[in-house]
C-alpha cells in the first residue's frame, strides 16, 4: 500500500469506515508487531501493545493527509511501546541507555538466532535499529522521536549493527 492509499484509508477511517480499518490493520500489523516485539522482547506484552495501538488508532485516527503516514503510525507504535514498558515492573531498561551488555554476556551460542542476538542489545539500541530497519524511519525522524541527538543515533545504530554482526558470527 502506498502512502497515498494509506492516507485514503485513514481518511475513510476518520469517517468510521470499518472496512478501511481492517485494511489498515492487515497492512500495518506485521511491521508494527515486529517493531514492538523487537523492542520489548516479550511476546505477550507485545500483543497487548499491538491491540492497544489499533484500538487507539480507531478511536482517534490521525487527520489525513499525512506527509508520511507509515512513519506516523510507527511513531505511534514506538511511543506506545515505550510508555507501556515504563509501566512494567522491573523497568530497569528505561533510561538506562548504557545497559551493561558486558554484565549480561553469557557464552555465545554458535547458531544463528536473531531474536537471541537482539536481546543482547540495549533497549535504546533496539529502538533505533528496529525503527530504522523495520519501521522505515530516517535517522533524523528517529532522533526527533527518541529525543536523542542525531549524531548519537547514528553512532548507536552503527554500534548495534556491529554488535549484532559479532553475535551472529558466533561472538568472534
Amino acid at each position: 500500500m502506498t502512502n497515498e492509499e494509506l492516507n485514503e484509508k485513514l481518511s475513510a477511517l476518520s469517517q468510521g469506515d470499518k472496512a478501511a480499518f481492517e485494511e489498515i490493520y492487515k497492512e500495518v500489523k506485521t511491521s508494527a508487531f515486529t517493531v514492538i516485539y523487537r523492542i520489548t522482547q516479550d511476546r505477550h506484552l507485545s500483543e497487548d501493545i499491538l491491540q492497544e495501538f489499533f484500538v487507539r488508532l480507531y478511536r482517534t485516527p490521525p487527520k489525513a493527509p499525512l506527509n508520511n503516514p507509515k512513519a506516523y503510525l510507527m511513531r505511534m507504535v514506538h511511543n506506545l511501546t515505550v510508555d507501556s514498558l515504563r509501566k512494567q515492573p522491573n523497568n530497569a531498561d528505561i533510561g538506562d541507555y548504557e545497559n551493561a551488555l558486558s554484565a549480561k554476556e553469557e557464552e555465545i551460542d554458535e547458531r544463528l538466532d536473531l531474536n537471541n542476538a537482539m536481546k543482547k542489545l540495549s533497549l535504546e539500541e533496539r529502538r533505533i535499529v528496529v525503527l530504522h530497519i523495520n519501521g522505515g524511519l530516517k535517522f533524523r525522524e528517529i532522533s526527533e522521536i527518541t529525543e536523542i541527538p542525531l549524531g548519537t543515533v547514528l553512532w548507536k545504530y552503527r554500534r548495534a549493527i556491529l554488535r549484532l554482526k559479532v553475535i551472529l558470527n558466533g561472538g568472534k
Binding site: 508487531f33 484500538v55 535499529v129 552503527r158
Partner: protein, 345 residues
C-alpha cells in the same frame, strides 16, 4: 578464535611493525639529507637557549632578532617536526604552516585568533632571528583541533567501509583551508547522512570532496587576515606536506577564486632515501596485508538453525541489516478480533 587465525593475526601485526620500523628508518635517512643554512652555534637542550651576537656572525640585517635560537622560520618548522612526540607537530596555537615562495625561505604561519595565538606569534618571533622568513595570518581552528576531528571522522569512515557503504576514501587536515578534507563518493544516501551528521557536529571544520565538487558548511566564515601579508586567495602560494616528514612545494592551481580551491596536486618529492629501503618496506606491507586478507577469507563454514551450511560463515553489516529487514514477527493471538470487541463496547 582458532590457532590458525591467531597465528595469522600475530604475523600480520609483526609485518606491520617491521614496516613501521623500516619506514621510520627511511624517513630518518631522508630528513638527514635536508640541508639548511648552517648556523655557528650548537643547539642547547633548552629550546629557549639564546645565542650571542658573536656566535651568529652577521647581525646587521633588519628586522633581525639577534638573541633567537633559530635562523629562519624554516629552521623552527624543522625543529617542530624533529622533536614532535605525537602526530601533531605544531604547538597548539598553530593552525598551519605553508610556503609563500615555493621554498623554505619564506613561510606563512597561521595562528588561532585569540590570546593564545597572539602569544604564540610573539613566541615564534622570539625564537626566529630572521623575521623576514615568517609572516602571519589568523585562522579559526588549530591544527591540533582539526587533527582531533580527523581522528573522530576516520572512525565513522572505517565503519562505513566495514559495512560496505564505501570502498575508498581519503582524509587529512588541509592547513590552507583550515579544515579536515574528506575525499569520498557522496552519491549514496548513507554517505549523505554521514556528511550531514559531520556538518552538524563540526560545522566548517570539515569539507567533503566528491571528485571536483567541494561540499562545505559555509555558515561560518574562517580565515580572517591580519592584513598585508596575505590577501586571502590561494594563488601563488604553496603548501607544505605535513605529517609525513616530506617537505616540499605543492603548487595550487592558479586562477581559482577564493573559497573554491579544488583538488591539490601533490608533487613528487626530492631527497628520497635509498630506493631499496622503501621497496623492502612496501614488500613487507604487502605480505602483511596478504596474510591478513587470507586469514579473514578462510574462515570455517557455519551451520544455521535450519541445518544449512553457509560457505562463508562471516556476515557483514549489510547482511545483518538485510536479515533484520527480511524477517518479521507475527502475533499469535487473534488481535483484530479483540480490537473489534474492544471498539464495539
Amino acid at each position: 578464535m582458532n590457532m590458525k587465525r591467531i597465528t595469522s593475526v600475530i604475523t600480520f601485526f609483526l609485518c606491520m611493525s617491521m614496516f613501521s620500523v623500516t619506514a621510520f628508518g627511511a624517513y630518518e635517512t631522508s630528513v638527514a639529507a635536508e640541508t639548511y643554512p648552517p648556523t655557528t652555534e650548537v643547539y642547547a637542550t633548552d629550546v629557549y637557549a639564546v645565542a650571542t651576537a658573536e656566535e651568529i656572525g652577521n647581525a646587521d640585517t633588519e628586522p633581525y632578532n639577534t638573541g633567537a635560537q633559530f635562523e629562519t622560520m624554516g629552521d623552527l618548522y624543522q625543529h617542530w617536526y624533529m622533536t614532535a612526540g605525537t602526530e601533531v607537530a605544531y604547538p597548539d596555537y598553530v593552525c598551519g604552516v605553508w610556503s609563500v615562495d615555493g621554498g623554505m625561505e619564506s613561510l606563512m604561519v597561521a595562528v588561532t585568533k585569540d590570546e593564545k595565538g597572539e602569544a604564540g606569534k610573539e613566541e615564534i618571533l622570539s625564537l626566529v632571528r630572521n623575521h623576514e622568513s615568517v609572516s602571519f595570518t589568523y585562522m579559526a581552528y588549530s591544527y591540533a583541533e582539526l587533527h582531533s576531528v580527523q581522528e573522530k571522522v576516520t572512525v565513522g569512515l572505517k565503519e562505513m567501509t566495514d559495512e560496505g557503504i564505501v570502498s575508498s576514501w581519503g582524509i587529512g587536515v588541509q592547513e590552507m583551508d583550515n579544515a579536515v578534507v574528506v575525499d569520498i563518493d557522496t552519491s549514496s544516501e548513507q554517505v549523505q547522512e554521514f556528511m550531514n551528521d559531520c556538518f552538524e557536529q563540526y560545522g566548517n571544520m570539515i569539507i567533503f570532496n566528491n571528485g571536483s565538487i567541494q561540499i562545505m558548511d559555509t555558515t561560518v566564515a574562517t580565515g580572517v587576515d591580519i592584513g598585508g601579508e596575505r590577501d586571502g586567495t590561494a594563488e601563488n602560494e604553496y603548501s607544505i606536506l605535513a605529517g609525513d616528514g616530506n617537505v616540499g612545494a605543492i603548487p595550487v592551481e592558479e586562477g581559482i577564486p577564493e573559497g573554491e580551491i579544488g583538488a591539490v596536486s601533490i608533487a613528487a618529492e626530492d631527497n628520497r632515501s635509498d630506493i631499496l629501503i622503501w621497496t623492502a618496506a612496501a614488500a613487507v606491507l604487502i605480505i602483511g596485508i596478504s596474510i591478513g586478507i587470507i586469514a579473514m577469507r578462510t574462515s570455517r563454514a557455519r551451520q544455521t538453525e535450519a541445518g544449512n551450511i553457509t560457505d562463508n560463515g562471516r556476515l557483514n553489516s549489510s547482511q545483518v541489516e538485510a536479515i533484520l529487514k527480511s524477517t518479521s514477527e507475527e502475533p499469535q493471538r487473534d488481535i483484530f478480533g479483540k480490537v473489534m470487541k474492544e471498539i464495539e463496547k
